[in-house]
């Protein structure tokens, strides 16, 4: 894996280069936002609502001012002037309900953790202490927690001025009419699945430091963000500070997973306070504060129905979602389920598809992007019901998929949902995965253990996924009513000494862009890897960008680096031809050297050309004195990685404990720039997907309090909770970019959750269990086994779980009645 042994002349792309980023990270020489100290820095602390929903009748911050070290304190009303609503950039329908979202509440709080007042003090302890002195009177209002009853006419309202908790209804219907397909179907199956709320848990808590130059109205904002460029635009809009007076810097950022793809109230508040006081201000969230204040992910009820023939050919698919928006619409809240809308048909061919999503306001922390954002939910539902359908038809779940998936010779293929998948080879990835997994042997063992009634059951779960990522085509985003484009910028500066700066608009927070972009530039330019430096994350030095999310950085931003480098070579070629007194057509460019065909001694390196451009003493007439280049790339299609994931679990039916015995995945992410980094992305993705399947849930009580409110109550898995993964790849190059690359950042998360839950259900199916609700904790598994035993063979066991889950209605809260209700299988 280490790169020392690799031939120096080998291409950089495809090579397991060790990361440039690591040196500072393993020695502690990092620059996290909370590390930043500037002269006169003040610390800001936020007082938050302890209630899910209440009218604020009085706030008195004056007692806080008496506390030692306190410089200022503000209630929401004190900051309201000059602070606009936080932005929602994705109003998915024309008639969407768009409530105001003040960065700090003034009249009403709508979720536990909504900010109501702030203190500014000389150090973080003094600021936290003084919060206790602030007096707030609340007039409680009813919480809104149940997604279905929230839509009733007489439901209490999250935003009373809007007259409804329905945020939007977004429909899609393609192909034949689903009703008519259902009528000719031999088999239909309806299921209800629950996507529990998740808390993203990037290891670095959020933080922001605002440094003002009050006299000239200039502000530098350091933030633990994935989106410095978007944040700059949005903070200008929210605060009224002109965009060109704002500089936003994302220094070292410790993970994001979507949670830092946001424009947060605290960023706007810190800016407003720094403007008011003319002093630098820092805010850093505590982890428990972040659980309330940083957006959550998932949170949906999924009703899904498939229609098929007895032979297992899919005819149609119908999906009805209810998606929990939480209390407000944040940057892309409403769009998250819509990113999944196109993915329910997944890799399968069918004749009809009908989809509806209803967004609902609740008095909980807002939801927004979390690793996968809409696609994990879609993949979960389709892959779960495919396994259920296979069981219904008595087919092997892999065989059922084979009968329906797009064959490799059918690409490019336009799916029923209207996406055109550019490339893929589901057969190859699946065959490889089955072999690595030892599928047939495991099935045989499973059969044997079931026969002898082993109390520890073996289950095998299948997930053959694809996803749409690499956001991407600006015109498609327009059609989806997204408020911005999907391009990415890159520029390359050829420095006089032959060194190279690559400026990218992507904003890494763990992905390794510094390494991978260096590999791309080094390959195209033919310069040493170590001669390339990557500049990012600062709107002054990297002025144009759309930032990092949605597995877009390589497919869009890396492609931009590639194209900018090609432009540099083209410009350098003109200069080289002039200096070598040859025509451009007679020049060869190999490993960074321009040589005249047939006269190899007549040569100039591109690094020499950079110096020639710097002196400009001998350039051809009419050529500008620079071989630098920049480009902005707007791909014409999304990126469609795919893969086959197989999970084997062993479940102790007496304790409910699930153990992952083996996990094999074969992903196809097209050509690979750095296989070591790709493997790492897959590992991390798997961990998060498995965490949803087995461990994590944001649990609320009936009053809207977040019960899993600290890291001690929310189970982020440790090394001891996860297995070793077996990962492999097939390579079907993308047709939508020059490098043939596809996104990888979210793949593991999208694929793994259904693989694990399918395995859990597969283990318990002989006992009469047909579903276990996530997370499949020992208690839920045990309960499912017990209920199935009571109900007798063949009865619906349904999902089970503690009597609090928050989103799914009376069934969940009255205790373990099961999530299918009466709908069951058809």
């Amino acid at each position: 894996m280490t790169d020392q042994a690799v031939n120096a002349a080998a291409p950089e792309i495809g090579r397991a280069r060790l990361r440039k980023e690591d040196a500072r990270l393993i020695t502690g020489q990092t620059n996290w936002t909370d590390n930043i100290q500037v002269a006169g820095l003040l610390h800001l602390a936020v007082l938050r609502s302890p209630m899910a929903h209440a009218r604020i009748t009085r706030v008195d911050v004056s007692p806080a001012l008496e506390r030692p070290g306190v410089i200022a304190a503000f209630a929401g009303g004190d900051l309201a002037e000059g602070l606009g609503s936080l932005p929602c950039a994705w109003p998915v329908t024309e008639d969407i309900v768009l409530p105001d979202h003040p960065p700090i509440a003034v009249h009403e709080v709508r979720h536990a953790g909504d900010p109501v007042a702030v203190v500014v003090a000389r150090d973080r302890y003094a600021a936290a202490d003084a919060l206790e002195a602030i007096e707030v009177d609340y007039d409680p209002l009813p919480p809104v927690l149940d997604l279905e009853t929230a839509l009733a006419d007489d439901a209490p309202l999250v935003h009373s001025d809007k007259g409804t908790n329905r945020c939007y209804t977004w429909p899609l219907a393609t192909g034949e009419n689903f009703e008519s397909v259902r009528q000719r179907a031999e088999v239909t199956l309806r299921r209800r699945y629950h996507q529990q709320r998740l808390i993203p848990n990037a290891m670095e808590p959020r933080a922001v430091v605002v440094t003002p130059i009050a006299a000239s109205g200039e502000y530098t904002v350091h933030s633990a963000t994935q989106i410095p460029h978007i944040l700059r635009i949005m903070l200008a809009t929210v605060t009224g500070i002109p965009e060109h007076k704002l500089r936003v810097i994302a220094p070292d950022v410790g993970g994001g997973f979507g949670s830092k793809l946001q424009v947060y109230g605290e960023e706007a508040i810190a800016l407003a306070v720094a403007r008011k006081l003319g002093r630098p201000v820092k805010w850093t969230e505590s982890r428990s504060e972040g659980y309330l204040a940083t957006h959550h992910g998932r949170g949906m009820i999924q009703d899904i129905e498939v229609a098929a023939t007895r032979e297992g050919r899919l005819l149609g698919l119908k999906v009805d979602l209810i998606a929990d928006m939480g209390a407000y619409l944040m940057l892309v809240t409403p769009g998250i389920p819509i990113l999944g809308a196109f993915m329910y048909p997944a890799i399968y061919k069918m004749d009809a598809y009908e989809f509806t999503c209803t967004g609902v306001f609740t008095t909980r922390t807002p939801t927004d992007a979390y690793r996968g954002a809409g696609r994990p939910e879609a993949t979960f539902a389709i892959e779960r019901i495919m396994d259920d359908l296979a069981a219904e038809l008595g087919l092997d779940p892999v065989e059922l998929r084979r009968r329906n998936w797009i064959r490799h010779e059918e690409f490019p293929y336009t799916t029923i949902a209207g996406l055109t998948y550019d490339s893929g080879n589901y057969e190859a990835a699946t065959d490889r995965a089955l072999a690595l997994f030892g599928y047939d042997e495991l099935r045989a063992e499973q059969h044997e253990r079931n026969e002898r009634g082993d109390t520890v059951r073996l289950g095998i779960g299948v997930s053959t996924f694809t996803e749409m990522c690499g956001l991407a085509p600006s015109r498609v985003l327009r059609d989806l009513r997204y408020g911005a484009g999907g391009w990415e910028a890159a520029s390359i500066r050829m420095l006089p000494t032959g060194k190279v700066e690559v400026v990218t608009g992507t904003s890494p927070h763990g992905q390794g862009h510094e390494t991978c972009w260096s590999q791309i530039a080094a390959d195209v330019l033919g310069v040493p890897f170590d001669d390339v430096e990557v500049v990012h994350g600062d709107t002054r030095s990297s002025p144009q960008g759309m930032d990092t999310y949605g597995s877009r950085s390589l497919a869009v931003g890396g492609e931009a680096v590639h194209r900018a480098a090609v432009k540099v070579v083209d410009k350098a070629r003109k200069v080289a031809a002039h200096l070598l007194e040859a025509s451009e057509q007679d020049l060869e460019f190999t490993d960074g050297v321009f040589a005249v065909k047939g006269s190899p001694e007549a040569r100039r390196t591109i690094q020499e050309i950079a110096f020639e451009a710097f002196t400009s003493h001998d350039l051809p007439d009419g050529v500008e004195p620079s071989i630098n280049a920049e480009t902005v790339v707007d791909p014409e299609n999304f990126s469609y990685p795919h893969g086959t994931h197989l999970c084997a679990v062993e479940i102790d039916t007496e304790t409910g404990k699930t153990k992952i015995r083996s996990y094999v995945c074969v992903d196809d992410v097209g050509h690979v720039v750095n296989p070591m980094i790709v493997e790492g992305q897959v590992h991390g993705g798997l961990a998060q997907g498995i965490a949803q399947a087995l461990y994590e849930e944001a649990v609320y009580d009936d009053e809207g309090n977040l019960v899993s409110g600290t890291m001690a109550d929310y189970l982020v898995p440790s090394a001891a909770d996860l297995p070793d993964f077996v990962t492999d790849r097939t390579e079907t190059p993308a047709a939508s970019n020059a490098m043939g690359v596809k996104g990888v950042g979210e793949a593991g998360t999208i694929a793994s959750t259904p693989a694990v839950v399918n395995a859990v259900v597969d283990a318990l199916r002989p006992l009469g269990v047909t579903d276990v609700r996530m997370p499949c904790s020992p208690h839920r598994v045990w309960q499912a086994v017990r209920d199935a035993g009571r109900a007798g063979a063949g009865a619906e066991a349904g999902g089970t779980g503690p009597a609090r889950s928050g989103q799914s209605g009376p069934a969940a809260r009255s205790g373990d009645l099961g999530q299918y209700g009466e709908e069951g299988s058809g």
């Binding site: 690591d22 393993i26 502690g28 763990g510």
Partner: protein, 160 residues
């Protein structure tokens, strides 16, 4: 205010601190040793792990006054002479980090493990690092890095 004397990464500091000041904040805010990050407020994540008188400790769970008279080593003290330790090299070579926020704590906790158990099994590594959370790597390469740093043979590739 309480008077403390504490040696951190080879330097003796003589300071007045509030009795409630956490060692993690003392290191970060007072000494500027920001190589030790803080990831939670419930001592679950382990990002702030340091060595305190020869044993690993979560510096968010220790008061600065409790470190009076003690010797503290942070990740910044490991390569003081410019040469990385075997663990640091292994984390780099085995891609045992992505965002790197958990890395200082992981390295300090792994150091403690290898001191007590110089040739741990993979499962022993997983158990020993249970108190250190990582959200990026899925832990597999961290486990490999620790095994490699212990001088044991580790498979080069994940594929079977």
């Amino acid at each position: 205010m309480t008077h403390i004397k504490v040696t951190v990464d080879g330097t003796l500091y003589d300071d007045e601190v509030e009795p409630r000041l956490l060692l993690a904040h003392y290191l970060r805010d007072r000494l500027g040793l920001t190589g030790t990050p803080i990831g939670c407020d419930t001592s679950n994540c382990g990002a702030c792990t340091v060595e305190l008188d020869g044993a690993s400790a979560k510096s968010c769970s220790v008061l600065a006054v409790q470190a009076d008279g003690c010797t503290v080593t942070t990740v910044q003290g490991l390569s003081a002479n410019g040469e990385w330790t075997a663990l640091q090299r292994a984390f780099h070579e085995r891609h045992g980090l992505q965002c790197g926020y958990c890395t200082p704590g992981m390295i300090m906790a792994a150091r403690d493990l290898l001191r007590e158990n110089p040739q741990p099994s993979a499962q022993e590594v997983r158990q020993a690092l249970e108190g250190n959370l990582c959200r990026c790597t899925g832990y597999q390469n961290i486990v490999r890095a620790v095994l490699a740093a212990s001088g044991q043979q580790v498979p080069e590739e994940a594929t079977a």
